[in-house]
């Protein structure tokens, strides 16, 4: 009885939840890379991103967590799946792994990892109590449209270019076939 009660203390539960979320992220990442079935890879990516959303919950921003789900899982992964469904059938024999390609991928991954960890280690992280607590949606919106409006505009520009590219590709493809 007491052992159960000690297990369901809020602190213990929070730590268990955190371990679960981290496990989810890592498992998802592994599934996203290793299996040779490309649909499994996407599903692994989805599991991984769901775990990342969980991490945002632990960082105290449920809004960003839900946005992560809505955009990365709901929009991006679904469009990746679309692309897979329209590409070559899965029952055909798989192409072999080319060693140079794997090496290149490893190199790029390592470079990104090193850069990110350099940035993370250089940043002076403040304990949660010392930061301002106001990370509401209103604050985020105000920041996006005042201090970070250039970033905001650049992101919109990238999306605009992507949309135009999609229209041109599909338009030309249709014109050349008909």
């Amino acid at each position: 009885m007491n052992s159960v009660q000690s297990l369901i203390q809020p602190q213990v539960l929070a730590q268990l939840g955190f371990a679960g979320v981290v496990a989810l992220t890592l498992t998802g990442a592994l599934i996203a890379v290793f299996p040779r079935n490309i649909l499994y890879n996407v599903l692994g990516l989805i599991i991984c991103l769901t775990g990342v959303a969980g991490l945002f919950v632990y960082l105290g921003s449920p809004f960003i967590a839900l946005m992560e789900l809505l955009i990365y899982v709901g929009a991006i992964c679904i469009s990746i799946i679309f692309a897979i469904m329209l590409s070559r059938p899965l029952h055909l024999s798989l192409p072999k792994r080319h060693l140079p390609k794997v090496g290149l991928a490893l190199g790029v991954g390592a470079a990104v990892f090193i850069m990110l960890s350099a940035i993370i280690s250089r940043t002076e992280w403040q304990p949660a109590a010392m930061r301002s607590n106001d990370w509401s949606i209103t604050t985020l919106g105000t920041y996006l449209l005042t201090r970070y409006d250039l970033v905001f505009e650049v992101i919109s520009l990238v999306l605009l270019v992507a949309i135009l590219g999609a229209i041109i590709i599909s338009g030309y493809a249709r014109r050349s076939t008909s």
Partner: protein, 334 residues
């Protein structure tokens, strides 16, 4: 009360809330599906000048319980060429968003599992898992009808999600909150449906499409695709897809009630009646569900290109225009 106190003492208030909420939601989901299947068959029958189920129980109301027992006792057939892991995962995954969505729906003034300040977003964020499960199920079945059904389901859901979210955004701007209880509170005088009838209409149309119901039921168009994405499923796995569909109907109608029809508040001018908010809430929700059933048995199914054109050329521009116009109105009013 003593039992409740014991539970709270043992689990702590938060965990007790979760456990009780989960049990309540599971019960609600089952009873709702049993009732809605019966209602659907009965309404369909009367629209087609038939009688419908009438043998088991008064007005055949116990018919779906018998059907349910049949489904539970059936063998779970796993065809040989399916992708086993994903085939078994899909019916379970289709149920996840259902359970999560009920967490934030305000059934009455105090009956609400968790009043999150991003509650509305939670429902829409998790509804993507529903699409995903359909896709995984259809793909894992290794059947051309299933795959076609799944592809259609995804194309349709992705397209109709855009106008749905845009109209919901107008409501959020109007009530200035993503919190479900505050959205209800902002309708204490006038319901949102009277302020923005177009948004309510767009929402209801898109919600019908999101739940894959006729006239938008091309993912499971029987005459072309056998049963679409769940062709290969049998027994309780099939029943889980079915349960999720009817629970999703309940969820979209409950969200519509919350967003546009005043939630658990009474009908305008009937506030003096001693009717609890819970009854008002469910009455409004089931009236909306009845309307969707009515629509299903009245309109023929759309063709796939008609469906897509309707969404991209009419619904999305209309929803965008609505959003811009209401942003202007809100700016003028405040």
């Amino acid at each position: 009360m003593a039992a409740w106190q014991n539970l709270v003492n043992f689990l702590g208030p938060d965990l007790a809330r979760i456990v009780v909420g989960l049990v309540g939601v599971l019960a609600l989901v089952q009873v709702n599906a049993l009732f809605l299947v019966w209602l659907e068959r009965k309404v369909a029958a009367h629209i087609q000048l038939r009688i419908g189920p009438k043998e088991v129980g008064p007005f055949g109301i116990l018919q779906t319980i018998v059907d349910g027992i049949k489904l539970v006792s059936k063998e779970l057939i796993t065809p040989r060429h399916v992708d086993r892991k994903l085939f078994m995962l899909a019916p379970i995954a289709v149920f996840l968003p259902v359970l999560v969505s009920f967490v934030v729906i305000p059934f009455s003034e105090r009956l609400l599992i968790r009043d999150m300040n991003v509650g509305l977003l939670l429902i829409f964020a998790f509804s993507t898992f529903n699409v995903l499960a359909v896709l995984v199920g259809g793909w894992a079945s290794n059947n051309k009808y299933s795959l076609l059904g799944a592809v259609r389901a995804v194309a349709q859901n992705v397209a109709y999600e855009i106008p749905l979210l845009l109209t919901v955004l107008s409501v959020v701007m109007w009530s200035n909150s993503l919190q479900m209880s505050e959205i209800v509170a902002s309708q204490s005088k006038i319901w949102h449906v009277f302020w923005m009838p177009v948004a309510a209409l767009i929402y209801l149309i898109c919600a019908t499409a999101e739940t894959n119901r006729a006239p938008f039921d091309i993912p499971e168009a029987e005459s072309e695709l056998v049963a679409g994405f769940h062709t290969e499923y049998s027994g309780m796995r099939f029943a889980l897809f079915f349960l999720a569909e009817y629970s999703n109907m309940l969820i979209v109608s409950a969200v519509a009630t919350t967003l546009f029809f005043g939630g658990w508040k009474s009908l305008p001018g009937l506030g003096f009646l001693p009717v609890p908010g819970l009854i008002w809430f469910f009455a409004k929700t089931y009236v909306l569900i009845f309307v969707t059933i009515w629509v299903r048995w009245t309109f023929p199914r759309l063709r796939f290109d008609q469906l897509m054109n309707f969404c991209w050329k009419i619904m999305i521009p209309a929803a965008l225009l609505h959003l811009i116009v209401y942003a202007g109105i809100i700016k003028l009013l405040r």
